[in-house]
Symmetry: C2
Amino acid sequence: MEHTVKSYEAELSQLDQKISHMGGLVEQLLGNAFASLERRDPRLASEAIASDRAIDLMQKEIEELAISMIARRQPMAQDLRTIVSTLKVAGDLERIGDLAKNVAKRALAIAPETRPQSLILGLRHMTELATASLKNVLDAYMTRDDVKAMKVWNSDADLDALYNSVFRELLTYMMEDPRNIGLCTHLLFGAKNIERIGDHATNIAETVHYMVRGKPLEDDRPKGDKTSVTMIDTP
Amino acid sequence: MEHTVKSYEAELSQLDQKISHMGGLVEQLLGNAFASLERRDPRLASEAIASDRAIDLMQKEIEELAISMIARRQPMAQDLRTIVSTLKVAGDLERIGDLAKNVAKRALAIAPETRPQSLILGLRHMTELATASLKNVLDAYMTRDDVKAMKVWNSDADLDALYNSVFRELLTYMMEDPRNIGLCTHLLFGAKNIERIGDHATNIAETVHYMVRGKPLEDDRPKGDKTSVTMIDTP
């Protein structure tokens, strides 16, 4: 019995280690993806894109281990909650990896652009916020820290507000000069991807809350992206 | 024992019924979302947006039933594969619901627009392809029809090709006349959402293949969206 309990805890800690490893890969991909966009560096972009495959494989590994633990050990209550939470966190990390990969794809597209670099400043700030959320929510997961998770949850409103202003700013550049349209369209999609990364960090925060508290977060997520319903004054 | 087997099969069929019901809700949401975009009908858009909540709840129900079946019944091989597949399909349907909801949000934004309706024709064709894929892949799931699933999988290249041409077309409208920029930006995001719906139908096709054949599809998904790496000639 002692042995069973121990190896069960060993499996749980193995799940955590895999999540931690996967989170590290995702942080690295996001960093490289934005750097490749900012520097218009197609080589770094290609590396970032290729690195997403390792993240997908990690998700599969985590899924397989989690499902086999549920089937073999028939965990109850708290333990089942923890294992299911791991599945959810892995799913969100995989999506963040996809979104970061999409940012790197935009970098390939704009690599030959000669329009001013300044257009990308808003995205840099967005990436800084998203990176901090990702890092903090992974810490919160590893330490089962509900307070820290809720801080991340609340901070997503800032990223959404910033996205709203970046969206408007990019539209004005497009209206000002049609030569900006190609570049700014790619940056608009890039900005949307980063905003969505914040949403997934928020999902992970909700999962941490559920793991620690044993019940789902009652309130709705703060939804601050208003751009999809923004009426644009076209001159 | 007889009883146990029967009630297990009853639970499996309950899972299928829930997936079928969820799929129906998603199809309806997608139809309403595009109709609200085409007719610039904010009331229908709001209804479509609200209907996504029922889809999210269905996913939770399916997850809970599937996880509890795995924990209680410790299914092996084929049965475990089927239950895990249900989890995956529910996940993709939830994402399709989200993407369709985003299309409806764009409809709210463009409702007051007076620019010509013709700009949306490409998106209508895209929606028709995505709707057919969704319907066919759900049929393939319910009948465990691998051949039908693979047809859906292959057809995604058409949707991607169409997205590429819609993307380019919308950019030319923007360059031609800055008054089109606001509307076309929303349509670009809408088109991207529909293209992503095709990707999730493709995921479901892969899951059907895995359920029926017992092994994952070897080849990579056909990736035809080249717009994220499209170099745009700006005049």
